[in-house]
Symmetry: C2
DNA sequence: TTCCATTGAATGGGTGATCCATTTAATAAT
DNA sequence: ATTATTAAATGGATCACCCATTCAATGGAA
């Protein structure tokens, strides 16, 4: 508070908290004219303020992917906070996929391209915390994939179909050579390619997030029991043929039927369906 | 690491980094038998390790919502890291909605119920960073809402319909009294209720995330131009009637038609559609 | 006894100084 | 011209504090 006349502020500038309090109160007052109850303020902490400040610059277009933030020591001084608390904010933004921190001279905090895998983490956390259930996730996946088939039939381009074709060939090879877990990887990629073929990254992101979790269950099931979906590549080819002919009804029916058979396979042994097995540890290929 | 025989470790246990290096290398080696190229390791930092450790406990069910982590000072000592770096990890988890940090004696880090609003943040960041476009978001929203109508017709319960009815009444009141921005708030809530009526929290979360952004645009448009959708409550009533009769085709048609007219309203003045206006600052009601 | 004010300990919030490890550019040596 | 060395900048991490908040325990007043 006060004047802050000293050039390097040798004594503590311990003014952050009271200032924030005032600001929060102002915001509430501006919210609506006559407020009946007024409890929920929940004083802002500096790292929240910092995160928000940076996100604001992002939304305003002042910061764009590729840009570099000032060095930690300098930015901390600019913001009038300690380097430690600034790092808490930067860490949060890094975990959020907004920043990438790079060491060394010419290093720094660089704004990143958005990482759509963040949504996977959200789904995973919601499942871990019991906010959503496996049943809801599976159901949502079926419905969303149905939508994907419609959009893919409408929008898939030649390159998308070729990529799916190549994926099916890899699946066949993995099947022949008995690499069951690699085949699960192929499946995961198949749905990713299918989602991408809709041409809509929002849809693709949603599909990926539900599929990523689902594939962990499949992976765990295959790894523990050794069973595997029969005639997988063949079914994929039929589906791709329907997709290529833009036959929505057929493609939709084929996919739904396949999803149901996978679901039956998974539910066959409820013990292996435990969240813990599927979520707990990190399989080599399924991780970023 | 070594023996760590001293009880309180007065000298620095500066051994963290080299250990992590070794561990990362081991992981890579275990990843596959014969690796052709080996570049991407990207040494793990302690805060990542900590986050992962805690998430692992979550997935394993050792930690559940409501549980409390040890105090920062103690947990830091248990993990053999400094309190500051532990706080970086806790901050990240707090931003992720996994933890809530509470001050005071009997305070601590408490595992939370999952907060589905996290997905909104993801969408917002992806849009800010240019990873997804407004067009993709709008398109996805239309398709997802179409799906929602199907599911709502199938699954909506009496309470859901009553809540929608009550929402429409609030909308009428706001319209009569000319509170245009409150009416936008009602719209946001309408879609939230509609999404909830599917009975599937995954679907609801997805719908909310795309709707939240969309409503920012509507809010900005209404706030700047003062225009507002005509006959809103009336259209809502028609839609709700169709929903109550489980008439999927009619409900779907009504909603789609409404969405299109809103879209026309928004696109009428492209200037007001700027990302910056919609995303930059925080409207009182639209914020957590 | 009951109730309320005081106190003190535990806890998260925050600061500043200091060191380490990595990276890169500038410089020197070959 | 090439290669090795050095120096500076930067993120990574630690330590030692201090502050503000919260709540249980304590003790005095009614």
């Amino acid at each position: 508070m006060s004047t802050k006349s000293s050039p390097r502020a040798p004594q503590r500038p311990r003014t952050a908290s009271p200032n924030r309090r005032e600001r929060a109160t102002d915001l509430r007052a501006a919210g609506s004219a006559a407020v009946p109850t007024f409890k929920p303020i929940h004083t802002r902490r500096t790292f929240e303020e910092i995160c928000e400040r940076i996100r604001e610059q992002l939304a305003l277009g002042v910061l764009k992917p590729g840009d570099k933030l000032p060095a930690e020591r300098e930015l901390a001084q600019q913001l009038g906070v300690s380097r430690n608390v600034l790092r808490e904010a930067l860490r949060s933004l890094e975990m959020a996929g907004v920043l990438r921190l790079q060491k060394g001279v010419k290093g720094g905090a660089f704004i990143q391209q958005g990482d759509t895998r963040r949504m996977n983490e959200v789904m995973r956390d919601m499942l871990s915390l019991g906010t959503i259930s496996v049943r809801e996730l599976s159901e949502a996946r079926v419905h969303v994939l149905d939508l994907v088939v419609q959009l893919a039939c409408a929008n898939a381009r030649r390159g998308d179909l070729d990529a799916l074709e190549a994926n099916i060939e890899r699946t066949e090879l993995a099947t022949k050579e008995g690499r069951l877990l690699d085949r699960v990887e192929c499946s995961r990629e198949f749905y990713k390619l299918l989602a991408a073929s809709t041409g809509n990254k929002v849809i693709a992101m949603i599909v990926d997030s539900v599929t990523e979790i689902h594939m962990r269950f499949v992976y765990a099931k295959v790894a523990s029991s050794g069973v595997a979906m029969a005639r997988l590549a063949e079914k994929r080819r039929q589906f791709l043929a329907a997709l290529s002919e833009r036959n929505v009804a057929l493609a939709s029916r084929l996919l739904r039927s396949h999803l149901e058979s996978v679901q039956r396979m998974l539910e066959q042994d409820p013990g292996a369906m435990s969240l813990h097995v599927a979520l707990a540890d990190v399989q080599p290929g399924l991780r970023r």
